[in-house]
């Protein structure tokens, strides 16, 4: 009896994602059928593209790294009760700052590496903090300001690498910085594989966030602010401080995502290399899918990365276009927020209760 209850408690939060995944898979199947490919075979090709062998598996993990970090940032902001849609801008500013720090900070390579990590987190954090400050001081809606600030940040970074800091060594004038010296790179975890130290950093951050949110005073205050800001204020929580700190670290995590991509994969900032694959938005989806649970976000990030690497494999081997993956992702999000079945009934009943108290 006790065991059953425990099991139910464990399984209940999974019901919702399960339905969403199911609908996502069905939607994908419809899309595949429209293109005229066999559904099951295509899914098998997809699976192999994501997890088929050690190389593909590590590629998936490498792709999951920035997604996970941005996702953690979004999850943290959610917990504090705000929508940080600015992951992309924070990530890009973090990446370009990290690249510039690694290039121009004086000192031995190891120092450059540390400087780059700090610069990347600071840049992302401060950019997010600006939005948080506008919200708390001037009531500028964070949801929209963070989103619009993305365009500003991306265009600004693009300007930096197209004009003052452009790499002019090559023959073609690409919009990118020069390459960072090898000593300041984040090492690969396995030779020849794309997964790098950044993945370890990301998993560490996820664990750290779990501990902070569950066991510390600050985590408690963040959570209460998110659940009911009036209650938090009444209880003596400094609303503004907690909001600003949450936003700073949310942005810092996004900045870190961009940083590890620069230091572990590209070794330079290339215009558009973070925005084209949609890392930030996938991270947002991972956080939404996991209902802002950090460990869940990690799992969701890996799954979504697998969906993308799998789709790439699928595109190589079949006629189905890559974008099936983004359709499946969007459907996942649309339905993970819907209140189905059990939850639905509960909600109905609760509504009655609420009107009962007025």
């Amino acid at each position: 009896m006790y065991l059953q209850k425990k099991l139910q408690k464990l399984l209940k939060p999974l019901v919702q994602p399960f339905f969403a995944v199911l609908i996502g898979i069905i939607t994908g199947a419809v899309a595949i059928a429209i293109v005229g490919e066999p559904i099951l075979d295509t899914y098998i090709v997809m699976w192999n593209g994501a997890f088929g062998n050690f190389y593909f598996l590590t590629s998936t993990l490498a792709r999951a790294t920035p997604i996970l970090l941005v996702g953690l940032g979004v999850a943290l902001a959610f917990r504090a009760g705000v929508f940080n849609l600015g992951g992309e801008g924070q990530m890009v500013l973090g990446a370009v700052s990290a690249a510039l720090a690694a290039l121009y900070f004086p000192g031995p390579p190891a120092v450059k590496l540390v400087a780059a990590l700090i610069a990347g987190m600071l840049a992302g954090g401060l950019w997010a903090l600006l939005a948080g400050w506008m919200e708390s001081r001037f009531k500028v809606q964070l949801l929209i300001s963070t989103l619009l600030m993305n365009y500003v940040a991306i265009l600004f970074a693009s300007y930096l690498v197209a004009e003052p800091f452009q790499d002019r060594s090559g023959s073609a004038a690409l919009a990118q910085t020069p390459m960072i010296e090898q000593g300041a790179w984040l090492p690969k975890l396995f030779t020849g594989m794309s997964v790098h130290m950044g993945f370890v950093i990301a998993v560490f951050c996820a664990l750290l966030l779990v501990i902070i949110l569950r066991f510390t005073t600050s985590g408690y205050e963040v959570k209460m602010l998110g659940l009911n800001p009036f209650f938090a204020e009444y209880g003596g929580v400094n609303k503004v401080k907690v909001l600003l700190l949450s936003m700073f670290f949310s942005g810092a995590l996004a900045g870190l995502a961009g940083t590890v991509e620069v230091l572990g994969t590209q070794y330079r900032y290339v215009d558009g290399f973070l925005t084209a694959p949609g890392f930030a938005w996938t991270g947002l989806m991972a956080a939404l899918l996991a209902n802002s649970n950090p460990l869940g976000t990690a799992v969701a990030a890996i799954l979504l990365a697998a969906l993308q690497t799998g789709a790439m494999g699928m595109e190589r081997n079949t006629e189905v276009p890559l974008e099936v993956a983004s359709v499946i992702q969007a459907v996942l999000i649309l339905f993970v927020s819907a209140k189905f079945t059990i939850n639905w009934w509960k909600l109905r009943k609760k509504e009655g209760d609420v009107s009962g108290t007025v």
Partner: protein, 304 residues
Amino acid sequence: MELFDYSLFVSAIRMVSPILLAALGGALCARVGIFNVGLEGLILAGAFSAIVGNHFTENIFLAVLSGVAMSVVVSLVFGVATIHLKSNPIVAGIAINFLMLGLTTFALRAIFDVKGAYYDKDMAGLPKVHIPFLEDIPVIGKLISGHSPLVYVAFIAAVVLYIFLYRTVTGFRLLAVGKNPAAARSLGLKVTTLQYGAVILSGVLCGLAGAQLSLGQVTMFTEGMTAGRGFIALVATMLGQSHPIGIIGSSMLFGLMDALSIRLQGFSMPTQFTAMLPYVITILAMFFLKDRGTDSLAGQQSSR
């Protein structure tokens, strides 16, 4: 080239119509208490379907109609998710935006077998409307005459919406639903029906906005061609306090910035900075919103 001349305002009027149409759609939703973050996706759906319709029917009217139809279908999905399944409208709106970004890109490959953008030089865009007599008046004629029909539709829609909201019984009830849903329900007003009505109408308006985007200014579709216009429209909605006439004003501001950013490219300024202009202005505009659009800490609190 001058920085400000009347042709800047001509292009501003052209640029304003997608924002104005979408902002009116956003206002309708806001009036029934739904914060529609999915405008971006709705416009994109309209823009793409309009091109598809144009490609297959070669009839510009049917093209616009198919854009509208698609947008309405998508808005219905949004409506079911938020009204019926009680999703958080912000999450559902974001999901709609992504869904449409993914679907249009996917369909671009599946239908036209191209990546990035679809362009066909033989495809006819929206015609220009020349208003007799008026167009002969200097300056004013150029300003008012010679736009695509959807530009006029946008301004007419604003006026019609104003009359609808403030002069008709249905409009009055719609306002009531947004102001106090509990009271509206206790009076037996059909809250859900009115909400669906508003969401569907916003689909129609966003479909028109999309058609103007893909058939009005240029005759092509590019991936993610809305580039945040849906969100700018959302700010225009808030800045105009969800009042049709106010929205004309706020949309004009953003249209002018759009036009200005293109005009500035002719000057020796990096394109990145000129392209930033509409976004920066929009953020600055939000400082004047103050308490409008609810306290976002409270409003956004449930992330589920």
